[in-house]
């Protein structure tokens, strides 16, 4: 389903100081089954943007729609993959994946079937009864992804899900994510601070400005699909990464602008 954000504005109240404009008129569109990444300088509001879409952050102004129907607050059509270590430590792998279905009162048998399918899809067969503290970082992120996919959302929001993984695991998980996504073609908005990751995964990469954040540039990734790790060694890949890095450093060099008054 298509995700659309229009004129999104977010402010944080600060005790004693004037409110801080974090996002200032963000416009973006993600087509159905499109994979779009957002990169930007740290503190630019990438995570805040995702939290707004996930209904976890109040917006000051603007409009968010999925399939032309507005998203207000937590919406069943949107699921979020949080940064690492957001699994319930007292639940097994299967229990974590089932959480969303339980609270949505899905029948037990159907839940069990869905959980079983997802455990297989994310490559954790045999680990259903393991607890998060018994898993590696990469495996925990697989559970994290499966838990969001279990509720069968239209839109998947991913907030730097691989940022705490080491380089090798991270690249392996990127491939895994693409494989899983090829089976479950969700509309994905993926936030990261790693340009290579954004390019490798996405159909398009959106570059955010420094705070107050807005979408500064949009780059279409011309790499074909399906992609494998060889894609990382192509000249196109390097050209895209270098181009984005250049844009990002330009962005960092420009002075911070004042927020536009609504």
């Amino acid at each position: 389903m298509k995700l659309r954000v229009e004129n999104l504005q977010v402010m944080f109240d600060r005790a004693g100081d004037p409110p801080l404009t974090v996002l200032d008129r963000v416009d973006l569109e993600v087509q159905p089954a499109e994979f779009v990444s957002v990169v930007g300088p740290s503190g630019c509001g990438k995570t805040t943007l995702l939290r707004c879409l996930g209904g976890l952050q109040a917006v000051r102004a603007g409009r968010i729609t999925v399939a032309d129907r507005p998203v207000a607050g937590v919406d069943h059509r949107v699921a979020m993959v949080f940064q690492s270590d957001s699994l319930f430590p007292w639940r097994t792998v299967a229990g974590n994946i089932a959480f969303g279905l339980e609270v949505r009162r899905h029948p037990k048998a159907r839940t069990a079937r869905t959980v079983n399918e997802l455990v297989g899809l994310v490559g954790l067969a045999g680990f259903e009864r393991a607890y998060p503290h018994q898993l590696s970082g990469g495996m925990r992120q697989r559970v994290n992804l499966a838990r969001a996919l279990a509720v069968d959302p239209e839109v998947l929001l991913m907030d730097e899900p691989f940022s705490s993984l080491d380089m090798q695991t991270r690249e392996a998980m990127q491939l895994e994510l693409l494989r899983i996504w090829s089976h479950r073609r969700k509309t994905v908005l993926f936030v990261t601070h790693q340009i290579e990751e954004a390019v490798f995964l996405s159909d398009r990469v959106l570059l955010m400005s420094r705070r107050p954040g807005l979408i500064r540039k949009e780059i279409t990734v011309s790499l074909g699909r399906p992609r494998n790790s060889r894609a990382r060694h192509t000249p196109e890949f390097h050209a895209l990464v270098d181009g984005l890095a250049e844009l990002l450093s330009q962005e960092l060099a420009t002075p911070q602008r004042a927020a536009v008054e609504p």
Partner: protein
């Protein structure tokens, strides 16, 4: 390996302590009225155990201790969940809980005997009162400390308030609840002694201690104290075991 070493050290400490105690009592104090030697305590223990008196006393004390602790524990969890879940309710009730936690509730024993009689009811109530507030405070602390990200995960997946409480906050708080219970049990053991001091009971470990004290039978006094200590340690160990079983992801106790 680490477990064996740990156990060996604890055993060694116990043995050395008992030897020092024996030597001190035999050669320095030399008066069993002031300090009975461990051997005299052991003999006294065997004597009351043989007559069946000890077991009878233990069973009476243990019965109301178990019922009172269980009631106090459940009450504490309910009260704690209630207070932890609602800020407004907590603000009304917090001062009372804090006051009740700090106040020497055992001093209420005579009053409770007037209310509930000299039988086991008054003793059960005093134990429950001693256990309930540490458990309440532990539960509230646990619920309020719930990881924010986990709360957001639950919200984002569509959990309502009741789900969040039951499936996120309470499991998170489990270690805190059991820590509160451990403190409560320690207080409850003191409660056994005090309740029976006032209680006019016909049987019980506390009564046995009080009677021994009145006739200056210090070896028997020690037997009673040791029995209470062992009961306390037993329940505490059980709670630690439960905590490890039910919250294996916590590598260390929260309190």
């Amino acid at each position: 390996m680490g477990g064996v070493v740990r156990f060996a050290r604890m055993a060694l400490s116990g043995i050395v302590g008992i030897i020092v105690w024996q030597v001190w009592a035999t050669f320095v104090v030399r008066n069993p009225l002031f300090l009975p030697a461990p051997y005299a305590v052991l003999r006294s223990a065997i004597e009351v155990a043989r007559s069946g008196e000890l077991l009878g006393n233990i069973l009476v004390s243990l019965s109301y201790f178990a019922v009172g602790s269980a009631a106090g524990f459940l009450g504490g969890v309910f009260l704690g969940v209630f207070l932890g879940a609602s800020q407004a309710v907590a603000e009304y009730i917090d001062p009372w809980v804090s006051a009740a936690y700090t106040a020497p509730l055992v001093a209420l024993t005579p009053l409770l005997i007037i209310w509930f009689g000299i039988g086991l009811w008054s003793k059960t109530v005093i134990i429950a009162l001693l256990v309930i507030f540490p458990v309440t405070i532990g539960t509230v602390a646990g619920i309020r400390s719930t990881d924010q990200t986990l709360l957001e995960v639950a919200r984002s997946l569509g959990a309502n308030r009741a789900d969040t409480l039951r499936k996120v906050m309470v499991p998170w708080a489990l270690s805190f609840i059991l820590s509160g219970a451990r403190i409560g049990v320690g207080r409850g053991v003191i409660g056994i002694f005090v309740a029976e001091l006032f209680g006019g009971a016909s049987k019980g470990i506390g009564l046995m201690i009080n009677n021994a004290a009145q006739v200056f039978n210090t070896p028997l006094l020690f037997v009673g104290i040791i029995v209470l200590a062992v009961m306390g340690i037993g329940v505490t160990t059980l709670l630690r075991f439960l905590e490890r079983r039910m919250a294996p992801w916590r590598t260390q106790s929260v309190v």
